[in-house]
C-alpha cells in the first residue's frame, strides 16, 4: 500500500461532486454526458482504490464492466443527441421540454 486508501476516496469524491455540478449546472446535453462519464470515472477510481487496499482483483472486474456499460451508454446517448438535433435543431436541455408537465 503505497498510496493510502483515503487519498483515492478523496479524489473520487471530488471528481464525483464535479460531475454532479456539471450535470446540474450545464445546459448543453453533450457536456452533461461528459460529466456523467466523469462521475463514472470517479466511481471507477474508488473501486480501484479498494481493489488495491484489499489486494483483490474483484474491484478491477467491476471497473471493467462499468467501462463497458459506459461505452454502450455513450454510443446510445450520442445517437439520441444526433436524432434530437436532427428533429429539433438544438442541444440545449432547456429547449427539450416536451415531456415536462
Amino acid at each position: 500500500m503505497v498510496v493510502p486508501l483515503e487519498h483515492y476516496l478523496g479524489v473520487s469524491v471530488a471528481l464525483f461532486a464535479l460531475g454532479v455540478i456539471g450535470v446540474l449546472v450545464r445546459r448543453n446535453v453533450l457536456v452533461i454526458l461528459m460529466c456523467v462519464e466523469m462521475m463514472l470515472n470517479a466511481v471507477n477510481l474508488a473501486f480501484i482504490g479498494f481493489a488495491d487496499y484489499f489486494k483483490a482483483v474483484d474491484g478491477q472486474m467491476f471497473v471493467f464492466f462499468v467501462m463497458t456499460v459506459a461505452a454502450a451508454e455513450v454510443a446510445v446517448g450520442l445517437a439520441l443527441v444526433v436524432a434530437i438535433f436532427r428533429n429539433r435543431a438544438t442541444v440545449y436541455v432547456d429547449d427539450l421540454n416536451l415531456l415536462k408537465w
Binding site: 500500500m1 464535479l18 446540474l24 481493489a51 463497458t68 455513450v74
Partner: protein, 166 residues
C-alpha cells in the same frame, strides 16, 4: 509515489473543473481527455496496469473520439449560453447540492469500518494475468452478458441515428 499521486490528482481535479466551466463543448472534451489520462496514471499507481491501459484505449481513445466526432458533426458554431442570460439560481443550487452530496459521501466513508487490508498477492502473477484468470473463471457469465449488452447498444445506436427512409 505519494508526490506523483498528488500531482496526478491535481491534474485530474483542475482539468475536471475546466471540463465543467468551459463555454465550448469542444474544449470540455479536450480537457476531459486530460482528466482520463490523469486517472489512468492513478490506476497505474494502484497496481492496476491492465485497467489503466483499457482506460486509455477505451475512454481516451474510443469514447472521446465519438464525442469529438458528434461535436464536429453537429457543428455548433456559437459558444454555449450566450443567447440567454445564465441562470444564477440554477448555478447556486447546483453547486450547493453537489457540495452536499460530497459532504454526505465523506461522512459515509469516515463512518465506515473497513476490514484489515489484504495480503500481498503471490509473487510472479502479473496484474493482467490475474485479471484474465478472474475474468474467465469467476466472472465468465457477466463477461458474456457484456457482449450481449454491446450488441444491443450497437443495434440501438444504428436505429436511432439512421435517417428515416422515405
Amino acid at each position: 509515489m505519494q508526490i506523483l499521486f498528488m500531482i496526478l490528482a491535481a491534474i485530474a481535479l483542475s482539468s475536471g473543473v475546466l471540463v465543467v466551466f468551459q463555454r465550448h463543448p469542444m474544449r470540455s472534451a479536450l480537457y476531459l481527455i486530460v482528466n482520463f489520462f490523469a486517472v489512468a496514471g492513478m490506476y497505474l499507481l494502484a497496481h492496476a496496469e491492465f485497467i489503466a491501459a483499457v482506460q486509455i484505449i477505451v475512454y481516451a481513445g474510443a469514447i472521446m473520439v465519438l464525442f469529438l466526432f458528434v461535436i464536429m458533426l453537429l457543428n455548433l458554431r456559437l459558444p454555449e449560453e450566450e443567447a440567454k442570460p445564465p441562470h444564477v439560481l440554477q448555478k447556486i443550487v447546483g453547486i450547493t447540492l453537489s457540495v452536499f452530496v460530497a459532504l454526505l459521501l465523506i461522512y459515509g466513508f469516515s463512518q465506515a469500518r473497513l476490514p484489515a487490508p489484504g495480503k500481498e498477492a503471490a509473487a510472479g502473477i502479473g496484474n493482467t494475468e490475474a485479471v484474465a484468470r478472474a475474468l474467465f473463471t469467476d466472472y465468465l457469465l457477466p463477461f458474456e452478458v457484456t457482449s450481449v449488452l454491446l450488441l444491443v447498444a450497437i443495434v440501438g445506436a444504428v436505429v436511432l441515428a439512421k435517417q428515416k427512409l422515405k
